[in-house]
């Protein structure tokens, strides 16, 4: 516990995905098939390299690596603790799935797409492995900017507009985070993550701390789409190609959440936050976000827009769990990061197949889809049931832990939020499922058939993971066991 090891692995892992840039440069015209192999291979390699860190992560050893010291106490460096490892693992798994899926889905502007996809993996890993707030901020900003080409991939007017809106939100948010960063540096003199709060020792007044906290939250809240700051989400998700929206929703929103987790656990620390009394207001914010987003989702008819609003609600589950500041709440929050990533990943990948094969993204035109693309719709149904929190899917595990967490935090009445949200989820997901399976096939879909294997297989793997995470919760290597290690450090 608590040992630190100097290691070259962090740097290696963070820059491995950039290998695919070489593929793009060298072989994109001459040997496109090999180039594609390099794109996907680089993300698989990253995944394997991350797995090498598994033993260290399981016994709580931290791998560190400083790259350069820019100014006194402002360094660019990596530090992989178990929480970072958990994020890195999740990122790389989802990236592998999405890369394979892209092989079947992306047909135009491949070089640009894969280059930016890989760069984004690099930057996301950079965020996950960063040793201090400064490094995190740098990679976070890079990631924000480099997501833009993925969103505007189709280069339609709608996509461009959505992309610009995304940029405005992200850049503003970046400036806000920077402000908070400066304030933190100014008051506490350190930006490093140590596993417990650092800012509390500085002897700053509660008011200032609250201000810093809120500014951080405003900044990261844009990516984590807390309700008034969610504006870009319902535009960017439908505009991006399906694998990119799976990553946007599954991972990139979570990077915002990860920032908030670092703020909660490493900058402020649980005890300080309890003393500051920010828990209750944040719970209200998250609850409103959960319920209002679900209500918006009900009124959407575009499948991907509906999924986007659903993401807004589901990510707020994580915020909700975090700010319960209780043990099971934290478990639920951190588990839900992975759970939602796989559930929403499945849903977005399915929506890609549905658009690809049925040529529609209107939820009212899904009648009889289950007869035409049965495996896809089964995967969709599993993930949709997971969103509702049905047992044997991983959604249930999160719901149970969050419910128990709110009891532990002595905020019993917040269970109602979870229940109402589950119900609303049922209201907007179930009609799709049962019209797909139990209604007659409409003319539009008569000639459609199941998607190619390169798209179908990743989707099914994602769906099976939803079930595995929901049933074999405590198996070593799955999120629960990792979070158990994380929780040893966090004083809850």
């Amino acid at each position: 516990m608590g040992r630190e090891v100097k290691s070259v692995l962090p740097i290696l892992i963070v820059f491995t995905p950039c290998l695919s840039l070489a593929g793009a440069l060298l072989w994109r015209n001459k040997r496109p098939r090999f180039a594609r192999f390099v794109y996907v291979g680089s993300s698989v390699l990253t995944f394997i390299l991350i797995l090498l860190l598994y033993p260290r992560a399981m016994n709580g050893t931290v791998s560190t690596q400083t790259i350069l010291e820019i100014a006194p106490r402002i360094t660019l460096g990596f530090r992989i603790d178990t929480l970072g490892f958990y994020f890195g693992l999740l990122l790389s798994v989802l990236w592998v799935i999405a890369s394979f899926y892209s092989l079947g889905y992306i047909t135009s502007r491949e070089t640009r797409y894969y280059s930016f996809l890989s760069l984004n993996l690099s930057f996301c890993l950079g965020v996950a492995f960063s040793a201090n707030m400064f490094t995190l901020f740098i990679f976070y900003e890079l990631m924000s900017l480099f997501t833009y080409p993925l969103i505007i991939h189709d280069e339609t007017d709608i996509a461009r507009r959505a992309g610009l809106k995304y940029l405005v939100y992200s850049i503003t948010a970046g400036a806000v985070i920077l402000a908070a960063l400066i304030m933190q540096y100014f008051y506490s003199g350190t930006l490093a993550f140590t596993g417990r709060g650092t800012i509390g020792a500085a002897g700053v007044s509660a008011g200032v701390l609250k201000v810093i906290f809120s500014i951080y939250l405003l900044g990261f809240g844009v990516k984590a789409c807390i309700m008034p700051l969610h504006g870009w989400v319902p535009d960017a998700h439908p505009a991006a190609p399906a694998p990119a929206s799976a990553l946007l929703s599954g991972v990139i929103l979570k990077v915002g959440v990860f920032g908030i987790m670092r703020v909660v656990y490493d900058v402020f620390g649980v005890d300080l936050l309890k003393r500051l009394g920010v828990s209750l207001p944040m719970l209200y914010v998250a609850s409103i976000s959960i319920i209002v987003a679900s209500i918006f989702a009900i009124t959407q008819t575009d499948l991907k827009r509906r999924l986007a609003y659903s993401s807004v609600g589901q990510v707020s589950y994580i915020i909700f769990g975090l700010f319960l500041l209780s043990k099971s709440g934290a478990y639920g929050a951190m588990l839900h990061v992975a759970h939602h990533a796989f559930m929403k990943g499945t849903l977005f990948l399915c929506s890609g197949i549905i658009m690809h094969e049925l040529g529609t993204k209107d939820v009212r035109e899904m009648d009889g889809a289950g007869a035409k693309i049965p495996l896809t719709m089964i995967a969709f149904s599993i993930a949709a049931l997971g969103m509702m929190g049905t047992p044997v899917t991983c959604g249930f595990i999160s719901k149970w832990l969050l419910g128990v967490g709110s009891v532990e935090a002595h905020r019993v009445y917040f269970i109602a939020v979870l229940l109402i949200s589950s119900l609303l989820n049922a209201v907007y997901f179930l009609p799709i499922v049962y019209s797909a399976f139990f209604k007659k096939v409409t003319v539009r879909e008569l000639f459609s058939h199941e998607a190619p294997l390169s798209m179908l297989l990743p989707t099914l793997i994602c769906a099976v993971l939803v079930l595995i995470l929901g049933v074999f919760v405590t198996v070593p290597g799955l999120p629960y066991s990792l979070i158990k290690v994380v929780m040893k450090v966090i004083p809850l």
Partner: protein, 743 residues
């Protein structure tokens, strides 16, 4: 999670680890997989596989039976699922339910061997039927509330596929109601169990010794949430709306299981809930004995009585709900002309009986053995006769393709075996001596009389209602049997058959069972004119159903006769040992029940008033044609539920529409505000650039400049969004500032 050894009278049941309970649950899952793989390639082999796997599961339960009942053990299997301690265990109460459930599943699957051949999607039916069996056995073999909840939810979700099997518009409509009620129930149950978890420090059926759950009024919140969850499944009356739609919509073997087994899961949950009070009370009680023997304080004894007082209140609530359920179900069953619907309402009414027994048991607490015995006995009986009735009605539908009482009659000549078996079931549900309903109804009657000794005149009134309801039961069952199998055949019109069938299918589902009746009867009258003209009707060709269907039905009939002819055996070998596992029940009373004589003169006399009421009802109703009585739409609670649901969706739509309107209205304002802020920002920026450079570190400035440039380009196009963001930031900072200054 802590597992308590449960006391059985004097000795404590040993917990033995054994794979059998786990295997009993896994067999149907494996079966579902096998059935799915074989699929439509070989119809016969697949159907036989389904039968074989459900038989294996039944056999597994039979194997467990002697170990649990005569050796007094609890068999447990720990599965490495969920949070690591996912334990399925066979104690006496759970096992008897699992045994009956798996038996019912076996015979219903045998029945389905032939029946399902005239439906489509047969592989799907068998696969989901087996999966549902696994989930149902899981509910009964659950070792704590968490496991119970997991299987309970699964059972509800999986059974949805059985309910919508025919995929007609009506079946889907019924399915929507079913699935949403299941979800409401599941959420309510989850809330209840999470609260239970928090107050009882665990999800075990035995709350901890000093648990807040038992001693404070906090238990009422947890208990009422759980009661709603179980009540929805059990068809308790304000929550029953899914039942009369879903049961008729499903194919008959599935309706038999829905009505025979799955709604019992609700009652089973309530028994477990009552059990939590008993275990807790026993723990407190023994603690009290220890404390007093040590000459100490009497607080634990006080706790035990507080606990029993809570149970008393729960009993009151249950009795009230049971009366409403019993009577409401009976009245609605009387006015149905669709036989499956009639049976569905009858199920509601019979669940009222069961709830009544459980209510009396809870009401009497320590002395509640009789109510519990009656309730459990009636659950077992109802499984048999209601399953048999649904299967019999399915057989009628199989032969005649109609479910309308107005189109049936005189079938006993064509289908003698079905008619005979249905008569057995009918006599069972009526409570005629020598058939099983008699024993359980007698016990329930005793329980109410006992409760009346404590509860006074109000409970006395319940006794009268009980007798009248029993009369009503006799009446509607007589109506069902007599109009279907006896008298003369009324028949369906052959030429207008297709349009007719649509109408009757329609009427299965609409509303709370009353508004559809009018259209149904209009249709029947229309068609009735044709009936007499057309000679070649389906009834002419009706013939006895295939052999597997007869076996399936005959097995239930045998059960009815065994439970009816040897009630003493059932009471002493099954019911009394089960009651023994409730630690706080008076052991003398349990002993008394084991020795109870059912066929006494006074008991047989006790049924006479009901019989009189029933016959009077029947004669009067036939005379004035009251069976077609049309109730107003607003009579059914479902009407209001639907209104509320639609209202909610409208509200959502209106809300987001209003949001869009407001946005459109104030967007130009925001935009000009943005313009202003932007210009102001530019001027401020140029003025303070120099000073800022001095203040802020150089590293910080570079990204800021890059951002500033990007923002400069973008901001011109997105002044509205910027203003929106700025206002939010400003508001938050202002709020914070206020907070800081106020402090």
């Amino acid at each position: 999670m802590i597992f308590y050894a449960v006391e059985h009278g004097t000795h404590i049941a040993k917990i033995t680890f054994s794979p059998l309970p786990g295997i009993a649950i896994l067999i149907p899952i494996a079966g579902a997989l096998a059935v799915f793989i074989v699929g439509d390639r070989s119809e016969k082999f697949r159907n036989l596989l389904a039968i074989a796997f459900s038989a294996a599961s039944f056999l597994c339960c039979v194997l467990i039976f002697p170990r649990v009942f005569s050796h007094g053990r609890i068999l447990q299997t720990t599965l490495p699922l969920f949070f690591g301690e996912f334990v399925v265990s066979a104690d006496r109460l759970g096992l008897i339910f699992a045994l009956v459930a798996s038996g019912a599943w076996l015979f219903s699957t045998i029945y389905a061997y032939s029946y399902i051949q005239h439906e489509e999607r047969r592989t799907r039916y068998h696969t989901f039927s087996l999966l549902t069996e696994a989930a149902t056995l899981g509910v009964f073999l659950a070792s704590n509330f968490f496991v119970l909840f997991v299987f309970f939810e699964l059972m509800g979700m999986l059974a949805y596929v059985l309910v919508v099997h025919s995929q007609t518009y009506e079946a889907r409509k019924a399915g929507v109601k079913y699935i949403f009620m299941t979800i409401y129930g599941g959420l309510s149950l989850l809330a209840g169990i999470v609260l239970y978890y928090s107050y009882a420090n665990g999800v075990s059926f035995a709350p901890g010794e000093k648990s807040a759950y038992l001693l404070t009024s906090a238990c009422f919140i947890a208990v009422s949430f759980m009661m709603v969850g179980y009540g929805i499944k059990a068809g308790m009356i304000p929550l029953h709306v899914w039942l009369p739609l879903a049961h008729p919509a499903a194919p008959s073997p599935a309706s038999a299981l829905l009505s025979g087994v799955m709604i019992k899961a609700g009652a089973f949950g309530l028994i477990r809930l009552i059990g939590t009070f008993h275990v807790g009370a026993a723990a407190h009680g023994s603690a009290g004995v220890l404390a007093s023997s040590g000459g100490g304080e009497h607080a634990p004894a006080v706790h035990a009585s507080a606990n029993m007082a809570n149970l008393h209140v729960l009993g009151w609530a249950l009795i009230v709900l049971a009366v409403v359920t019993m009577v409401g179900g009976m009245i609605l069953a009387l006015v149905q002309t669709n036989i499956k619907r009639l049976l569905a309402y009858s199920s509601i009414s019979q669940m009222g009986y069961i709830l009544m027994g459980l209510g009396a048991a809870a009401f009497l607490g320590h002395e509640g053995a009789m109510g519990l015995a009656g309730g459990i006995y009636h659950i077992l009986n109802h499984t048999m006769f209601k399953a048999l009735l649904f299967l019999g009605v399915g057989a009628v539908y199989y032969s005649t393709h109609t479910l309308q009482l107005t189109e049936l009659g005189g079938l006993w000549k064509k289908m003698p075996v079905t008619a005979f078996l249905c008569c057995v079931a009918g006599l069972g549900i009526m409570g005629i001596p020598l058939f099983n309903g008699f024993a359980s109804k007698t016990l329930l009657h005793h329980a109410i009389v006992e409760a009346a000794h404590v509860g006074g005149p109000l409970i006395k009134a319940v006794e009268v209602i009980f007798i009248i309801t029993a009369g009503g039961t006799i009446c509607y069952i007589a109506k069902l049997i007599l109009l279907t199998f006896f008298g003369h055949y009324r028949g369906i019109a052959h030429d207008s058959g297709s349009s007719k069938r649509e109408v009757s299918a329609d009427s299965i589902h609409a509303g709370a069972g009353s508004e559809s009746l009018s259209s149904e009867l209009v249709a029947v009258e229309h068609v009735g004119a044709d009936v007499h003209n057309s000679a070649g009707s389906a009834g002419e060709h009706a013939r006895e159903v295939p052999f597997p269907m007869q076996i399936g039905m005959a097995a239930f009939a045998c059960g009815i006769l065994v439970f009816g002819l040897f009630p003493h055996l059932v009471l002493s070998k099954i019911i009394a040992p089960v009651l023994g596992s409730f630690a706080n029940l008076d052991p003398h009373m349990v002993h008394h029940i084991a020795e109870e004589h059912i066929f006494t003169l006074s008991n047989i006399k006790g049924i006479l008033p009901s019989l009189g009421v029933g016959i009077t009802f029947f004669v009067v109703a036939m005379k004035w044609d009251l069976f077609r009585l049309k109730l107003p739409e607003t009579f059914g609670i479902d009407y209001y539920y639907s209104k509320a649901e639609i209202g909610f969706l409208r509200l959502c739509l209106a809300g987001s529409k209003r949001h869009a309107e407001l946005r459109a209205k104030y967007w130009p304002l925001a935009k000009s505000l943005g313009q202003y802020i932007y210009e102001w920002g530019v001027s401020v920026r140029s003025r303070y650039r120099e000073r800022r450079r001095a203040v802020i570190d150089r590293i910080v400035t570079i990204p800021l400049d890059i951002q500033g440039f990007a923002a400069y380009i973008l901001a011109r196009q997105f002044t509205g969004d910027i203003a929106y963001g700025t206002v939010i930031i400003a508001v938050v900072i202002a709020l914070l500032a206020i907070g800081v200054f106020l402090k």
